[in-house]
């Protein structure tokens, strides 16, 4: 028996999951990244180390996927869209639409006959993502866990401008000062967020049932019911909605290794001294900020350059590697 590890390093949360070789979820972890991805991943690995899993493959995803791959020794490193799609299809082969709202971004993925045919991610503004909701909850003095319950208790909702995070906030303050009850404002905020998502991310997309809602925000029942109302459809929230990215990464790892030995460094990476250093590469005028990962004082990986010279060779390849400007 062997297991597969999936790691999704997002801006807000770092999620780990262990899948059995037949695709069952054995363990999930949802940890707050708090701007320290290395510590968080190590913490997660230390927590999993006790269970005695024999890891046969590791997949990483999320905005911190390159770091995670270098740190733990990943076999596959995939973008969040593919990871979420793979996880959703594993859960429900007939899924047609995936709504995913995380800490800093939101996406829509359209699937037909088990294949991703279209997708979109939010563009410039992070209005309507998890961190914005967190901030508003904190400002209203409402624990984010109670958001849904509070929204459900509202008799009316007030209209909040959801297009921009700054406008939404000033609109909420205004509504609050006029005297609208908190629950109506919370419900209004949920509706505004959904309206903004459908206009911005979901623009022109052919949303069909079965609709799955994934990502941390899917735990918020206020948003779920606002989606159901706006779409006139049933919205399904999978049991492991918060860690679907990690599940997808683990599934992709399983596909990728196919019996070949894993590059996993083992759970004891968590015990080692790991840190990153930044330096400015001077090979060309671009002056990229390259990140170097050190594990027990040894160079374990590079990323962040535009031309890939460091990533490619694991050290400075010198003059052999062409600079970016010369390739344009």
């Amino acid at each position: 028996m062997c297991e597969y590890l999936g790691i999704d390093v997002g801006s807000v949360s770092t999620n780990l999951c262990v899948l059995s070789s037949d695709g069952k979820v054995l363990e999930t972890l949802y940890l707050e990244t708090r701007g320290r991805p290395i510590e968080t991943i190590s913490q997660g690995l230390a927590m999993l180390a006790q269970s005695g899993f024999r890891i046969a493959g590791v997949g990483t995803t999320g905005s911190g996927r390159f770091l995670a791959r270098a740190l733990v020794g990943g076999d596959v490193c995939k973008n969040e869209i593919t990871a979420h799609a793979v996880a959703a299809l594993h859960e429900e082969p007939n899924v047609h639409t995936i709504i995913e709202i995380g800490g800093q971004d939101s996406k829509i993925i359209i699937i037909r006959n088990g294949v991703v045919v279209d997708f979109a991610m939010n563009t410039v503004c992070a209005a309507g993502t998890g961190s914005f909701l967190d901030r508003q909850a904190a400002r209203l003095g409402v624990p984010i866990e109670r958001f849904g319950e509070l929204a459900a208790s509202a008799r009316e909702s007030v209209r909040i401008a959801g297009r921009c995070a700054v406008f939404a906030e000033s609109d909420m303050i205004h509504k609050q000062q006029v005297g609208h009850p908190v629950e109506s404002i919370v419900k209004g905020l949920c509706e505004a967020l959904v309206r903004n998502y459908l206009n911005n991310v979901g623009k022109g997309k052919d949303i069909k049932e079965i609709v799955m809602f994934q990502g941390g925000v899917a735990c918020n029942s206020g948003i779920v019911s606002a989606f159901e109302e706006a779409l006139g459809m049933n919205v399904r929230v999978p049991l492991h909605c918060r860690v679907m990215g990690a599940i997808g990464a683990a599934l992709l790892a399983k596909q990728a290794v196919k019996g070949t030995p894993t590059r996993f460094r083992g759970f004891d990476v968590a015990m080692k001294e790991c840190h990153t250093e930044t330096f400015i590469c001077t090979a060309c005028v671009n002056r990229c900020e390259v990140v170097r990962l050190m594990i027990d004082k040894e160079k374990a990986g590079f990323w962040g350059g535009r031309c890939g010279r460091w990533e490619h060779a694991g050290q400075d390849p010198g003059q052999d590697f062409p600079a970016v400007g010369s390739m344009v």
């Binding site: 905005s63 995939k78 973008n79 969040e80 869209i81 593919t82 006959n113 088990g114 294949v115 991703v116 045919v117 279209d118 997708f119 979109a120 991610m121 563009t123 410039v124 022109g204 005028v285 671009n286 002056r287 535009r306 890939g308 970016v324 400007g325 390739m327 344009v328």
Partner: protein, 303 residues
């Protein structure tokens, strides 16, 4: 000898060879600004009108970089390069914007407007030579050699890549995609993901013209017309598995044509992705989207 500065931005990505050969043959010293760096961008952003798009801000940066180093910066006023069409409205006012930002440095800005008599690109170059005090007869000869040079260099960019695997077309303004900063090496990134990459230069010119005539409502803008026609051609020829549009944040013409292209793609069931680039755009977000697009294209092929 008079020295002329050519900003490596906007039209330079299309007519760079022409400009450079012309001024060299006409007897001037030519300095072309380097590929865009953060430093050049910062120079541009700090002096540009804040409402303009990224490519114009980059142009400002190049012009300022050159202004300390040459006698005159060449900033043509490109109003129209195709009959009955215009270039982007921002190009029309470019010399005025640059002149204000450079405060006192000489700017040479002949008018290019093929809607008028004597408004062709060649006429404009001769006019520029006169303004810079160069010999007009030599300048007229220089125009001919410059045009020859331009022809050979435009043949090179028309060369179609060969590839068996899935292919995508990256469509957008040449000055956005070819720029070292705003282009983010998109073509190389896609090639690294295993895709064959096309652009609108690789569409045969007669085909572009033919499609442009058939489009319901041709736009006013030369480049947007080409982008739309190229998208339609690639889909008609079934050459691509997807279309990626590379647009600059705040680009008026592209905001319209982007929507038209996206509708054409939807109708034909071809994946389409619009990526909006601004000065703050990080490469991480772009890389994630490109990877996801590539995965989708491969996945669709498999089935």
């Amino acid at each position: 000898m008079v020295s002329v500065g050519l900003p490596r931005a906007l039209f330079h990505h299309e007519f760079g060879e022409l400009f450079q050969t012309f001024f060299q043959c006409a007897g001037a010293t030519v300095e072309v600004s380097p590929h865009t760096t953060r430093e050049i961008l910062d120079l541009g952003v700090s002096s540009a009108v804040d409402e303009t798009c990224l490519p114009v801000k980059i142009y400002y940066g190049h012009a300022r970089w050159l202004s300390q180093r040459v006698d005159s910066v060449f900033v043509p006023r490109v109003v129209s390069i195709c009959p009955r069409e215009y270039t982007c409205p921002k190009f029309l006012g470019l010399p005025d914007m640059i002149r204000r930002a450079l405060r006192g440095s000489a700017v040479c800005s002949p008018l290019v407007d093929v809607r008028r008599r004597g408004g062709s690109l060649s006429d404009a170059l001769v006019l520029a030579a006169r303004e810079l005090g160069l010999d007009e007869r030599i300048a007229k000869k220089a125009v001919r050699s410059a045009c020859m040079k331009q022809k050979t260099s435009s043949l090179a960019i028309r060369e179609v890549p060969k590839g068996q695997g899935p292919a995508v077309a990256v469509l957008g303004h040449q000055y956005l995609i070819s720029d070292a900063l705003s282009g983010m090496d998109v073509k190389r990134r896609l090639q690294a993901l295993g895709l064959t990459v096309y652009d609108y230069h690789m569409v045969p010119e007669p085909a572009l013209v033919r499609i442009q005539r058939r489009v319901n409502r041709p736009a006013f803008w030369t480049y947007e017309n080409k982008i739309l026609a190229a998208a339609i051609w690639y889909m008609n020829q079934r050459k691509v598995d997807g279309i990626i549009q590379w647009v600059s944040f705040g680009c008026g013409p592209d905001s319209m044509v982007g929507e038209v292209v996206s509708r054409e793609c939807r109708q034909r069931g071809v994946p389409h992705m619009l990526l909006t680039i601004d000065e703050h755009t990080g490469t991480a977000g772009v890389q994630t989207r490109l990877e996801a697009f590539a995965d989708m294209v491969f996945w669709r092929r498999e089935v």
